[in-house]
């Protein structure tokens, strides 16, 4: 189904998922304005959110099923391609899992704030806009929408200074970073006379040697995204903010926000700046320092939450490898890995949220000692997540890493691949201790884990994660088909460079 951007009907149709979600946001807002007293209201809001996310996902599916494309003109503000649909599913999935683990958490922490769900929806909406945006203006606005919502979510737990501080740090640095992003956009606009990715690409194509303005713009754009994906050296907010935020929000930040920023980065680099060689070099370095930094810094952590924060930095590094590899293979690898990463990272945070109290900032890795004997299933779930994060065969994490390696090596980036695997080996130094603590150390006190609790929804979330990780780890075929078509959709031109069939 080909939609004509000139026709409003088609335009709206191409925005169907966003519209659906916005509509739900308004409904939810009204509901919240009406009922916002009790825990039950909160739960209802949560269920409504789940419905909203689900219906949006269905809308996305409908468009995907009908092969909706926005053409022929490139002047559209949004793109309609498989990449967008898959990315949308990732965001919606992340949001849904976040909601699932939020039920118990919010009640336990007495955060009876139904607006929480509204903000989650807004943030998701922002992400979807970023993935959809075919125009720097749209991407920027989407990013701001997402950020504003997440700033607030980070500071949601107003009773705790840590939460407020996290919000502040995230906000300040975020605003600072978006300043750079904006400047980058301005320069790109100046160099090409447009903010539309397609047109920029065209301009750059005929421009020949890229002008200084363009390059500077590109650099600042990368900076803007690098901040959101927490790439070294723009990562320093991440540990603190992740640490201070309510754990479900942390999970959402680590997965959704990162994925959205990556999605946008992919579109920008591959559709607008494909001909510019400079960014490969920049991203190469960014990837290397991020992988090394993230993994080394994580080694030094004793707090489980901070360790996960740094590990998310490290994984941003792996994803950057996929970006650097570029091409359709790189994009597909990115999508596969980001799906795996979303699952495993959310699973880890879910278990953490079950273990901890008062924001879990105090849960040390050693506090998990003996979890396996008292909460075998939780321990198993966390172990699977850790192994998947480690990239161990049989889990989705391994498949993702394998895909990234293939993409990198087929792009001739053998060094990058080698660094990736070596740093992964380092990561064993901090993932294994978690398993070790759970299975090989006796609990500190008899009832160490009595109050570890996940409610029904949380269990569902964790189960989904574990099953997903193992399933994709052994049988990733459907995932690949999806990722491949998505990858090619972004790369009408550069597809099948040197990629395996």
């Amino acid at each position: 189904m080909s939609l004509d951007p000139a026709v409003y009907g088609d335009l709206l149709l191409s925005l169907l998922p966003e519209l659906v979600l916005t509509g739900w946001a308004l409904v939810l807002l009204l509901f919240v304005a009406w009922r916002h007293r009790t825990a039950r209201d909160l739960r209802i809001a949560g269920w409504l959110t789940l419905v909203a996310l689900l219906s949006t996902a269905i809308a996305v599916w409908w468009l995907w099923w009908n092969r909706a494309t926005l053409g022929p003109g490139l002047v559209a503000m949004v793109a309609a391609d498989d990449f967008r649909w898959v990315a949308d599913w990732v965001f919606l999935g992340a949001a849904a899992l976040t909601v699932l683990i939020s039920f118990a958490y919010l009640e336990r922490e007495q955060l009876l704030i139904p607006e929480y769900y509204v903000l989650v929806i807004f943030a998701t909406l922002g992400m979807m806009v970023m993935a959809a945006g075919a125009d720097l203006m749209v991407i920027f606005l989407g990013l701001e929408l997402m950020s504003v919502a997440v700033y607030v979510l980070a500071g949601l737990d107003r009773r705790r200074a840590r939460s407020a501080e996290a919000a502040l740090k995230y906000f300040l640095l975020g605003a600072f970073a978006s300043g750079f992003l904006l400047y980058g956009i301005a320069l790109a606009y100046g160099a090409t006379g447009t903010t539309n990715l397609g047109l920029i690409g065209g301009q750059v194509g005929i421009m020949g040697k890229p002008s200084v303005m363009l390059l500077a713009g590109l650099a600042l754009l990368i900076v803007g995204f690098a901040f959101k994906i927490a790439a070294v050296p723009f990562h320093m907010w991440a540990p603190d903010v992740y640490d201070g935020s309510p754990t479900p929000v942390t999970a959402f930040m680590a997965t959704g926000v990162k994925a959205a920023a990556f999605a946008a980065l992919f579109r920008v680099l591959n559709q607008a700046f494909a001909p510019v060689a400079a960014w490969h070099d920049i991203l190469w370095w960014l990837a290397v320092v991020t992988m090394i930094g993230g993994n080394l810094f994580a080694l030094g952590q004793r707090s489980l939450k901070r360790m996960l924060a740094y590990s998310s930095v490290a994984h941003a590094g792996y994803l950057l490898v996929a970006v650097t590899a570029g091409g359709a293979a790189g994009t597909s690898a990115f999508l596969v890995y980001v799906i795996a990463y979303t699952l495993m990272s959310l699973g880890a945070f879910a278990v953490l949220s079950a273990k901890g109290r008062a924001g879990e900032s105090d849960v040390l890795i050693d506090d998990l000692a003996g979890l396996a004997s008292q909460r075998p299933w939780l321990a198993f779930a966390l172990a699977v997540c850790m192994l998947s994060l480690l990239g161990f065969p049989g889990t989705a994490g391994f498949i993702g890493k394998w895909y990234i390696l293939i993409a990198a090596t087929s792009a001739g980036q053998n060094t990058l691949a080698a660094i990736l695997v070596l740093t992964s080996a380092v990561s064993a130094g901090y993932y294994l201790p978690v398993i070790m603590a759970m299975y090989m150390k006796p609990p500190a006190v008899e009832a160490a884990h009595r109050d570890v609790y996940l409610d029904r929804w949380g269990r569902i979330a964790v189960a989904v994660v574990v099953v997903g990780l193992l399933l994709f780890g052994v049988w990733p075929n459907r995932l690949f088909d999806l990722a491949k078509s998505a990858g090619n959709s972004v790369h009408a031109t550069t597809a099948t460079a040197a990629t395996p069939p």
């Binding site: 740090k169 300040l172 640095l173 600072f176 970073a177 750079f180 200084v212 390059l215 500077a216 590109l218 650099a219 600042l220 990368i222 900076v223 690098a226 901040f227 070294v232 050296p233 723009f234 320093m236 907010w237 540990p239 603190d240 400079a278 960014w279 070099d281 920049i282 370095w285 960014l286 930094g293 080394l296 810094f297 994580a298 080694l299 030094g300 952590q301 380092v426 130094g429």
Partner: protein, 659 residues
Amino acid sequence: MTGTAVDLIWLAPALALLGFVLNGTLALTRPNAKTLVSVIGAGVLLAAFAVSIAIFSAFAGLHAEEPFVFRYWSWIPVGTLQIDVAFQVDQLSLVMLLVVTGVGSLIHLFSIGYMKEDPGYARYFAYLNLFVFFMLVLVLGASFPVMFVGWEGVGLCSYLLIGFWFTEEQNANAGRKAFIMNRIGDFGFMVAMFMIFWSTGSLDFGTVFTHAPNALAAGGRTITVITLFLFLGCTGKSAQIPLYTWLPDAMAGPTPVSALIHAATMVTAGVYLVARCNLLFAMAPVSSAVVAGVGALTALFAATIALKQWDIKKVLAYSTISQLGYMFLGVGTGAISAGMFHLITHAFFKALLFLGSGSVIYALHRAYHHTHSHEDAQDMRNMGGLARYMPWTTALMWIATLAIAGVPPLSGFFSKDEILTAANARGHADPIWLVFWGLAVIAALLTAFYMTRLMLYTFHGPNRTGEKEQAHLHEAPWIMTGPLLVLGVLSAAGGLINIPELYHGNAWLHHWLEPITQASAPLLPAVPLSSSTEWLLVGIAVAVAVVGIVGAWRLLKPEALVPARSAPEERGFARVLRNKWYVDEIYDALIVRPLVWLSREVLWKQVDQRIIDGAAVNGAARGARALGWANRWLQSGQVGVYVAVFVVGVLLILWRATS
């Protein structure tokens, strides 16, 4: 397949193995069924001996020039390397077969009495049978590897039997020492095998000896190296310089074991090997010289040590080493039959000497046992005048002594004289042998001397055992003296099997072995000695023996001896001899200690633990973790720092992009 009793060759080792299995089972299940054990243990040996005689006679009837090879199953077939489990029956192996089973049977019988009291009775006979089995595999094996099986097998049994009374640490040590030193020899044997295979393409005796002359240049480097490695093996097994030091310690084992393994059979395996490979050695003159030289030197060297030993078994041990030296001198000289001859006679009289000393020790032990005294039952200073109490033993041991001293017409005289003559004869071809001959003659003198010393101190003069003990000293039971008698006869008359032409004998053994030696004969310098020279040599030999005996009789004063506990420490040269030229100490200081120190202090503690594990492995891990920790002062929570780092990142990226 000959269709004669020869085909039963497998039976001999099989019987021994059967004995081992049965006795072994008994040892683990019913260790006290001593009668059954002794019946099995000695029975299988006697049966084996009977079989051997049958085979021997059958074989003799066949007048075969070529050996019979019986292939049982293919053992290690890989590519062109085809090793079968096969036995070879020929003149040489049959001689050994008879010696082993014959002497073996006698010693088994003797053991029945000697070990009666021992709790490990069944285990003892199991080991003994196992030893016989391996010894037979050794002598019957039709290829180097099969022989090697027996070769290491007997080493194992000697290890087990030396350490038989393992609760004494030094016994266990002695066993270990024996095994490890043998392993040094076996190392040589193995390397030799590799070279033989890659140069002749096979390891079967037959093929090797037929291919060797074409495949290898006589006197060439390869053959020399091969034979030297082989001889290294011999020095280990047959206790020659430099690997002899294990044998004296091996006396820690029960005395019959010393008789069987460390006198009659196993230690002669080296001689057998050289005889078996006489062709190869003949092709390598240098090696032959080394063999003969080492033999002669060992003969003298060991004899000197024997002069000053007090432990009766130690004396005999060194004398064994010295006699083995003679044999190597013989085979090294190329006088295979002479060497084998001496091997046989030595088996007789040395077994007799050991068993005799065994019954002496047995007597003293019993005596001390009665009086609950803890004196050393093997120290000659605690003996003396035993002739009164154990006449039979005394008489028999005198026969053996005269035999070993080389007094005509006893067996030892013929065999030793033949070796000396051969050496002297070879000396006319290449003079170095004259030196060997000289050494051997001096050794002969010393032999006569120390053996007389032994007899003198043990059986004559006043008794030093102790007043109370004397009451309990008396002859051993017949089961023990019986075998002694038989051996006495053999020691006396053993010479008959090879009376040289010189005395118009038929030199039976010499001719019998000709099919084995004929190949090498043409390679050796043939120096026919005039009968006058031969008579001269005989004269010298006899004179030497007589001088030795008489000298000892005159010089030594048994009356002057004091019992071991109050004996003074020797001084001067005597002390050096007493301490065996300090060879053990030297080995310990030069090889053992440095090696252990190196392994423990350097390789393990430093290289392995500190450098590799500590510095490299854990160091890397610690380093990475340290870097992680180092990040904490950046990640200080101060947004200012974060912003600064952020801007630095911006600058770097801008710079890379725009330049």
